[in-house]
Symmetry: C2
Subunit: 244 residues, 2 copies
Amino acid sequence: MNVVLTERIKCNDCPIRHRAICSSCDETELDTLEKVKYYKSFTAGSPIGYRGDSLGFVGSVVKGVATLEKTMEDGRTQTVGLLLPSDFLGRPGRSTLDYDVTASTDVTLCCFERGPFEDLVGSTPNISSRLIEMALDELDAARDWMLLLGRKTAEERVASFIEMIARRSHIENTDDQPIKLVLPLTRESIANYLGLTLETVSRQLSRLKSKGIIRFLDRRHFEVLDYQALHASSGDDADGGMIF
Amino acid sequence: MNVVLTERIKCNDCPIRHRAICSSCDETELDTLEKVKYYKSFTAGSPIGYRGDSLGFVGSVVKGVATLEKTMEDGRTQTVGLLLPSDFLGRPGRSTLDYDVTASTDVTLCCFERGPFEDLVGSTPNISSRLIEMALDELDAARDWMLLLGRKTAEERVASFIEMIARRSHIENTDDQPIKLVLPLTRESIANYLGLTLETVSRQLSRLKSKGIIRFLDRRHFEVLDYQALHASSGDDADGGMIF
DNA sequence: TCGAAAACTTGACGCAGATCAAAGAGGGAG
DNA sequence: CTCCCTCTTTGATCTGCGTCAAGTTTTCGA
């Protein structure tokens, strides 16, 4: 069995406390959530739910990375969302999934039963307004991705992806030393996210490497050596070059 | 001047009354909206707002079609959203636009000042819950579009677009007679929406025509002669073939 | 009504990225 | 340790769509 129920963590000690759906909640509201929440864990590679399935819960990613994927009848696959820690899974008001959800790494979710959570959304402005905000943020991200999928070259796509990983890893850059970052996906999964083939992803990563923009420690771990050049390769507007 | 203020229409006579942001409002809430709403019109081709601009209002499209576009520094453009009647423009909680908004046809908006509207969202569950629902619907649509942009062939993209236009025109098919439909965009705009060039769009439309799937009355008006074949060309899952 | 610009169609050709193929590199089970 | 399987890299070739180009139709202002 891939699904494991994990022991409880107090909300106040939760690593995603101030970025997740519960980030605007006061102590009282947090107590309410505390009572009904439960954890579920999934091992890397295991399915969290399939398209068409009914998912009885909604929840936040506490740890790990999950993908949302759409697959066509002939097998062509497009990743339509990447859930990183603090991201929200599930759509209040509809239980059937419109895409496959898969754990890319080991994943821990903080879950709420659908019914009770929907009641909470209706009665707790601090939750409903955060839900609106998170949905609109996701919509903005989806639109940025539409530009990438519709118009960017392979090199720009891969550079944009690396830049996004670096940004969302958002570690304080204590020194000028490069930071060790992790690719949470296989080459094939990256390709499915970028609308490319795995071979093209591999070639473009090698190109960034040979240009001295990134350096690989092993297949999954790397450092960004030149953020300026990385940003310039991404095709995005100037300025934002300084990430940290 | 492109912007024209239009005379008032009573909410109860409004053509988008039951699908827009106000669709769940009761009579009292509608009265409140009635007092603060105002109309703005834009002629075909004129800008509603540019990326980076601050938009002082939010609102619903009452009539016409508007596009949301992202443009890269070298001119590559991707349409990231199409606003049809009843769709909502603007993001509560943030006034600066993240994309250019353009009227593709003559457009009439039903507007609300940002501040008062945000207060209403906070105090009116019938509005905030509808806002959540509409944002999540848009997110679903954006994800479908990501599959199209990342994985579909040119033919599938154009067929998907035609099918979407037909679906959203949602006219009751009184007989078996084909329905006269309108393309609300130029070939270039369609190309920007589909991540293609205008030449490829033109070629694929000619192909659908030569296959007997659609028929053009003039450049902008057409009929779907074979919905089955259209759907089969779109690359989407079976079943849904029967649209009406 | 006419002229010119804008929008559209169609053809010829080239290239970025897909496809096909083969060989290395980890990593876990025994 | 070593075998085997999965993941990854790299090379050779192919192709769908982009690019460039020319001609046609429609629109619209004067």
